[in-house]
């Protein structure tokens, strides 16, 4: 069968060829950009990594630019802890919200809440940081952390003085920022559940919740997992809001109340005023670590979501 590209191939003129070459070139630009990204970070980071040694850079927990010791561990730890807190908070809320909108609540609720979710996604992260710094942090310091400390203070997680700034604040602000990602992707995934599955369960006498648990959730599990990974990818790389509330102190503490640091935050704070090539290179090394983690996660998440999106289409065909 002749495709549109073949029609008139005999007298394909210069314009067609130029057009095809032009847009193919612009498409190729994307690949070039990807290559440049990898090369540039590697280029900035390489001298420092060579001098420090990749392994000792990754496992050292000492970060002191003045004495020239650079270890990535406190930042990796901070990034992982804040992201974990964010996932623990945002995943149940995001999935619950999506379930309520698509399966339980009144239909009229859907447009306004969807609009609100889109608004959440559109707010610049520096504004989240501003709100976190002047609203969330005082609230944590005055109310939440003293309360948790009184009730659960025997756990190392909730010990120490309530200073507000710290892992908990970073995690909560991240939760707010990844909520739109998780809930909107979950909503999309729930849309792909074939109605007969749900209807079958309901017809057999299942309650709404039982239909969700027995029919809807098993079908959409992989997709929700993909949504969670996309959210996690965003949480790991989020910079400004975390920088403003995490306390900016390169240490590893078990308590969520303690001040910490995250990979993007230290780059944001120190890169412009880095003292010498080694410092700059070490920060670029941190960026490389961050880049690697998010690349892995995002690739995985996209493949999962894609597989789910294709599933029902294949079943229908």
């Amino acid at each position: 069968m002749p495709t549109p590209a073949d029609i008139g191939a005999g007298r394909r003129n210069r314009g067609d060829r130029a057009w095809a070459a032009g847009i193919t070139f612009l498409g190729a630009c994307v690949l070039v950009v990807a290559g440049v990204i990898v090369l540039e970070i590697w280029g900035v980071a390489r001298p420092a990594l060579r001098e420090l040694g990749l392994w000792s850079f990754l496992v050292s927990s000492d970060w002191d630019p003045v004495s020239g010791s650079f270890g990535a561990l406190p930042f990796v730890y901070g990034t992982l802890v804040t992201s974990a807190v964010a996932m623990l908070v945002a995943l149940p809320i995001g999935v619950g919200l999506a379930l309520f909108l698509s399966e339980m609540g009144p239909r009229q609720l859907r447009p306004p809440v969807s609009f609100a979710i889109e608004t959440l996604a559109a707010i610049p992260s520096v504004i989240y940081g501003l709100w976190g710094l002047f609203v969330l942090v005082p609230w944590l310091r005055g109310t939440v952390e003293p309360f948790l400390g009184r009730r659960l203070g025997f756990l190392p997680l909730f010990s120490g003085p309530p200073i507000g700034l710290g892992y908990l604040a970073g995690g909560l602000i991240l939760a707010m920022m990844i909520l739109p990602t998780i809930s909107s992707v979950t909503l999309e995934v729930l849309k792909t559940v074939p109605p007969p599955l749900r209807e079958g369960a309901l017809a057999l006498g299942a309650t709404r919740w039982e239909a969700i648990r027995l029919a809807v959730l098993p079908y959409s599990r992989a997709g929700i997992f993909g949504a969670a990974l996309l959210g996690l990818g965003r949480a790991l790389g989020e910079t400004m809001a975390v920088t403003m509330v995490i306390g900016n102190s390169p240490q590893i503490r078990a308590s969520l109340f303690a001040a910490g640091y995250s990979l993007p935050a230290v780059i944001a704070n120190e890169f412009a005023e880095a003292t010498g090539a080694l410092h700059t290179g070490a920060l670029a090394g941190l960026a490389l670590v961050l880049f690697g983690i998010t690349l892995l996660l995002n690739g995985l998440a996209r493949l999962l979501v894609r597989a789910v999106a294709r599933g029902p289409a294949r079943a229908a065909a």
């Binding site: 314009g15 847009i23 630009c29 608004t119 520096v126 993007p264 780059i267 412009a272 880049f291 998010t294």
Partner: protein, 281 residues
């Protein structure tokens, strides 16, 4: 077998829990919007928009140069990023069915997840190091790289929405392919592409992290692309983390301005998308 009563109660309990999740998502949003408006609105005045920052303790002063700087940086980013993003999207829609197209598409998806701070370092290595100077251009390069992947994907979707019959009708009339693509397909998809571009611009305008060490900041007016340039977002950050109450106030006001700008772009983008739907019908 559990009793029906117990199962019903369970059902209600989960419904209430999920309802609470909706509430838990809405309360912080409402709080954020309310505070930005209520804290920010008192600081807005004509001088806030037209003058440059004043030293601590001095009355007056504003973010005029930061607003102008944001426009400069985002404008430059558009010059670099929009053609590549839209072009790549058109490529994906028109000739992106092969293996090469798949590679480009997957690269776009993966790139859209790369943290913006990492892109900042790329622009630093690409522009700041060779020029030996922080500049608006470096910031623009970072924002442009951030714009491309998302824009390409949404442009592709909008171009693919154009009915095949339109293209075939044009080709059947003997119009050359490139003319069909440009004048028929792209013109039909234009409102959608405008929407996608506006959303990409809105996102870029709200970015802070990649600007911190590319365009840096500037206390003065600057319109030269090879000089450090102030931006609204970096200014908000600097004001917010400063120890002065006076500057915190300014941060809220600047945040309100930024929020209005980004909101306006989003609203216009939605409007364009709506007129697209009517056009297809």
């Amino acid at each position: 077998m559990r009793s029906l009563k117990l199962r019903r109660m369970r059902n209600h309990a989960w419904t209430v829990l999920c309802g609470l999740a909706v509430l838990a998502a809405m309360v912080p949003l409402a709080s954020l919007l309310w505070l930005v408006v209520s804290q920010g609105v008192s600081g807005l005045s004509l001088t806030f928009f037209t003058s440059r920052p004043a030293p601590v303790g001095e009355p007056g002063g504003g973010v005029g140069n930061a607003i102008a700087g944001s426009f400069t940086i985002v404008g430059l980013a558009c010059l670099l990023g929009l053609p590549v993003g839209i072009g790549a999207g058109v490529f994906l829609a028109e000739r992106g069915n092969g293996r090469f197209g798949d590679a480009v598409r997957f690269t776009c998806e993966v790139l859209s997840g790369v943290p913006s701070i990492v892109i900042g370092i790329v622009a630093y290595g690409l522009v700041v190091l060779p020029m030996k100077r922080f500049s608006a251009l470096a910031g623009a390069v970072a924002l442009a790289i951030l714009m491309v992947p998302g824009l390409a994907r949404s442009t592709e979707e909008f171009v693919r929405l154009v009915p095949g019959a339109l293209r075939e009708a044009s080709l059947a009339l003997g119009v050359a392919q490139w003319k069909t693509s440009l004048r028929i397909v792209l013109r039909t998809a234009l409102p959608g592409i405008v929407t996608a571009s506006l959303l990409a611009i809105a996102r870029a305008a709200g970015e802070t992290a990649p600007l911190l060490f590319t365009s840096l900041n500037n206390q003065y007016w600057n319109f030269q692309p090879d000089q450090p340039t102030a931006s609204l977002t970096v200014q908000i950050f600097n004001y917010a983390v400063s120890p002065y109450d006076d500057w915190h106030k300014k941060a809220w006001s600047a945040a309100l301005v930024l929020l209005l700008l980004v909101g306006l772009l989003n609203v216009v983008a939605r409007f364009a998308a709506r007129s697209r739907l009517q056009g297809v019908r």
